[in-house]
Symmetry: C2
Subunit: 238 residues, 2 copies
Amino acid sequence: MTRTSTLDPRSADASVDVTRVAVSTVIFTLRRLPGADAPRVALPLVRRTRDPHEGQWALPGGWLDVAEGLDAAASRTLAETTGLSPSYLEQLYAFGAVDRSPTRVVSIVYWALIRPDEASDDSVENVQWFDAASLPALAFDHNDIVEYALWRLRNKVGYSRIAHGLLADEFTLAELREVYESILDRRLDPANFRRQVENSGTLIPTDRFRTGSHRPARLYRYNQDVELADRGPLGVRQ
Amino acid sequence: MTRTSTLDPRSADASVDVTRVAVSTVIFTLRRLPGADAPRVALPLVRRTRDPHEGQWALPGGWLDVAEGLDAAASRTLAETTGLSPSYLEQLYAFGAVDRSPTRVVSIVYWALIRPDEASDDSVENVQWFDAASLPALAFDHNDIVEYALWRLRNKVGYSRIAHGLLADEFTLAELREVYESILDRRLDPANFRRQVENSGTLIPTDRFRTGSHRPARLYRYNQDVELADRGPLGVRQ
């Protein structure tokens, strides 16, 4: 059977020039690796079990179903591949370079932050957590995608309450600073940091304290009344 | 001919469940409407000449070609429909609700700012500029898309040099303030505004002055050395 030219992309011969839509998700958390003195930004990857790139690590994801919204597809494919169900996924970017896959695939990439206690170590087959700063060569353009997600994370931590996604509801200033230090990958001066967050009006001190091996430290929570860079109209609609 | 069930989305019968990818672009500029004392945020729309939504106004855009990157598709379809060629388009968001079109369409939406002198009034057939704050009912979910783009514009103007895209290379503080006022749709105190931008380190005063009916006003330019919220790794790669 010979191929005939086709002007209608939905005709029988369209398989040669179909663009398919996939979703993938970058899930960041903080992990304290053995021997390390500070937690590191980490993400789960899935080992591919078929071509292309069989055996390589890739972001969790899958194909968009024709009857499924983008957000729903991201949640579903993430749960199917890793068992993770973050309460909130945010769209990151659509990657659609022509040569990023042997067939034409546009990937809508989502991202989310989860607290360390949500990122269970329960071994899911073919899933492994990696230090975001030292990844192997991933399938497709997934190294580029992680690099972009890390840039957005570092960028966004400066003007939103995004660090909240990595912390419990109440936290000490030292715990908050540790989150910033891990994301920015550099040390911050404790006194300057305290002054900045106290001046920002985004934190509310509680009457409770963290006690333990150090002197008691006051617990804070985020002030939900402060309008920061959140999702805007999309947060309401979708 | 009866339809048979299909498991392979690329088989002959896949026309019933094909997802297609489109690109659309929101181009903002400032327009001084007759009789108005301040410029307004405006954008070009294209009147649809076929179904669905024939006769309604829509964002400029079109189908993604299978051999074309997303950025290239946005530039091409914008030029084809409006004749506009902004030097830089930024990806805004992928819209993919199942019911946003009679067939399943995922739209990758781009946005850009152009200076008023680039947004020529040359009449292109079926293209018209609209005040962003008072749009008619647009085709598809395009009102939602414009609303989201406006939110991003207002949000981003606070932490990036985005206002630059609406100004000449050199500008007075009053001209810069006018851009902020138009985007934020509220008046800003001139003295406070001056203090804030001077403290930000993002502007460099020149030795030149704008002269005219008012007293001479110093011209400023943006300090390109200040690293603000720009595009990050994608800016280099694509």
